[in-house]
Amino acid sequence: MLEAKQLSKTYHGKQALKPTSFTVNKGDIFCLLGANGAGKTTTINLFLNFIQPSGGQALIDGKDVVKEPLETKKLLTYIPENLMLYPNLTGLENLEYFSGLANKKYPKEEFLRFLTEAGLQGDAHDKRISTYSKGMRQKVGIALALAKDAQVLLLDEPTSGLDPKASNEFSELLTKLSKKGVATLMATHDLFRAKETGTHIGMMREGSLVEQLTTDQINHTDLEKLYLKHMN
């Protein structure tokens, strides 16, 4: 579903991402691990076509994101570290608006159902976003993916700063979506969540993908050891 083909990005002569290839299939949760500046966000931004690749291709469902920026975006939902919504609009209004931009129309009840399914309490639906906690906003992000019927999730450290319970809820939602066949690419620092939720793990260092493995190949302790080995 998601494919990086020799994808690279150079900023002012510095290689933020060296030619990198990987694939994320339907139902996979591919977790990118690595220190800050390792190229995780760059990779996600390349899939979003927010930045232009210096080489290679980023493909979503076989389509090049540079050549078909609008088509490929129809398939994906993006949730950044801190999902920012319109503070003066309610959760429901934000969901309706952003879904509308993706040409998704539903009756109001359906939108409310998405919010509930994403784990947002009923009394919050009609409150303005300015009163929401970060965890609640991330849940609106999931509702957005549900409403959009997204086949691809691009997540940039979505659980950082969330309390363990919220983080756990978020992971459960990801698993639920993955069972529906959603391909997820997630940048994260949370080794524990990566092992628990992810199906695949990629470790990045200084712009290179130095390790790729599936989570059932390894246990928590070894994962941490491997990670530290690569980072040092």
Binding site: P80, M84, L89, F98, G100
Partner: protein, 471 residues
């Protein structure tokens, strides 16, 4: 989709305190301006028709006198107050409202409103055009400066773009989101103005079409400002920078450019001072025929020619009163002199206007201002047209008086008296303003400039947003 974006923008704008306060203030200002203008218009109009009636009855009832003395006695031409001056008072405040029409002399329009006002009025009156042309652009900037920068600063731009919305549609949505509140303020003003004008007695002068055209021009002007606002907002990363830049643009185009272009026009094509102008006319008059002085060289020459033409050897033998004839010839001569000098003045005016037209390319304010005044018939061109009509009427009136004297009295017979039969045979001064077709033809370049502003600013906006980087 565009409408959906616009509605969301509106919802956000309305929920923000900033908008409510400015919109209410703006609306209140406009209403106040409209009411002030209306009461001013009604009182001036009442005075105008009163004065017109008085002047006519004074003329008709001046009693028995020599026709040439009647021409000296004279009458007044009053400049009509046009209904649309309710919206844009233009230069009316400075141009004077009545012209004294008398023999031998072309007078300037007098009694300008500005003469009666205190120094404080220099700072501008609260008129609808002030709000519509100066303040509304400021309002547009105020609600639109952060249209893109806010999304960028708060991070919603990334989410927007990740939803796969085309930037142009997003921009058009935002565009409408600013245009709709502006319309919401402009439409009630338009309707109120139409109601006021329709209820004013001399309805004949008012055309709804002209009012609509006027608002059309304003809306184009607002569209240009919305384009500029969104263009700037899409270029900057920070809202405060966008705001300061837009304020700068507003100041330059609405405050500085008009002054600069006036200064340039005055520098390139200066008007003569009143004294110079009068001296030049006096000098020319001296050289020529003097209707009141038969020993004047030109008068002698004319006498010889006329005698030869009629084959007689003294003015007494002419079939008409030589005095009347001579005075009318003198009148024609002075009229020519006035025509020549006013034509020179007009040339300067035309040259200055051309300077304004070329500087209009630098500020959308200028073509709008000129179109607005032209449509409201409160620009200098309208004043010129009125002054010319008054001068033609004066020439006709004086000619009729001298002609009557020449035809009905004997040479040297200054006791000949005419009465109100003659006075009332002179039609009352009726002034028909230039047709709108002519007004528009005169202002084609302003229209073109304004439309060019619209198209180019749209193109610039399109270019900027399609090149806009998400991060």
């Amino acid at each position: 989709m565009i409408l959906k974006i616009a509605l969301k923008e509106l919802k956000e704008i309305v929920r923000e305190g900033r908008f409510r306060i400015t919109a209410i203030t703006l609306f209140a200002l406009l209403l106040a301006a409209l009411f002030v203008s209306k009461s001013y218009y009604t009182s001036v109009n009442a005075q105008h028709s009163e004065a017109k009636k008085n002047a006519r009855s004074e003329w008709v009832e001046q009693g028995q006198k020599n026709p040439h003395s009647a021409a000296h006695y004279g009458t007044y031409a009053f400049k009509p107050k046009y209904p649309l001056s309710l919206i844009d008072n233009g230069v009316d405040k400075y141009t004077g409202v009545s012209i004294y029409l008398e023999a031998h002399k072309r007078n300037e329009a007098q009694y300008a409103a500005a003469q009666d006002q205190t120094a404080l009025s220099r700072f501008g009156d609260l008129t609808p055009d002030f709000v519509l042309i100066f303040i509304v652009p400021l309002f547009i900037i105020l609600i639109g400066f952060n249209a893109f920068t806010r999304e960028r600063e708060s991070g919603t731009l990334r989410l927007l773009k990740s939803q796969g919305v085309s930037t142009w549609k997003l921009t058009m949505g935002k565009w409408l989101g600013i245009f709709l509140p502006v319309l919401l303020i402009a439409i009630p003003v338009y309707v109120l103005a139409a109601l006021f004008l329709a209820n004013i007695k001399d309805y004949g002068q008012f055309s709804l079409w002209a009012l609509t055209l006027l608002f059309g021009v304003y809306l184009i002007y607002y569209a240009v400002f919305i384009n500029i606002t969104l263009f700037v907002s899409s270029l900057f990363k920070k809202s405060n920078l966008a705001f300061v830049t837009l304020l700068g643009i507003w100041m330059v185009s609405c405050l500085a450019m008009p002054k600069i272009s006036t200064a340039i026009a005055d520098k390139l094509y200066p008007y003569p001072t009143q004294v110079e102008f009068e001296e030049q006319i006096a000098a020319d008059k001296k050289k020529g025929l003097d209707g009141h002085n038969p020993w004047n060289t030109e008068a002698k020459k004319l006498e010889e020619e006329t005698l030869k033409k009629y084959g007689v050897d003294s003015v007494q033998q002419l079939p008409f009163n030589w005095d009347g004839f001579l005075m009318q010839e003198g009148e024609k001569h002075t009229a020519d002199i006035y025509f020549k000098h006013y034509q020179l003045l007009k040339d300067t005016y035309v040259n200055q206007t051309n300077v304004y037209r070329s500087t209009a390319a630098l500020s959308p304010f200028l073509p709008t201002r000129f179109l607005s005044m032209a449509i409201c018939r409160t620009d200098y061109t309208s004043h010129w047209d009125f002054a010319n009509a008054a001068e033609n009427y004066r020439i006709e009136l004086v000619g009729k008086m001298n002609g009557d004297m020449a035809a009905n009295s004997k040479y040297g017979d200054w006791d000949y008296l005419a009465d109100d039969k003659l006075w009332s045979s002179v039609p009352d001064f009726q002034y028909e303003p230039t047709s709108y077709t002519t007004v528009i033809r005169q202002n084609t370049s302003n229209l073109i400039t304004l439309l060019a502003w619209l198209l180019l600013s749209f193109a610039a906006l399109y270019g900027a947003v399609t090149q806009m980087k998400t991060i």
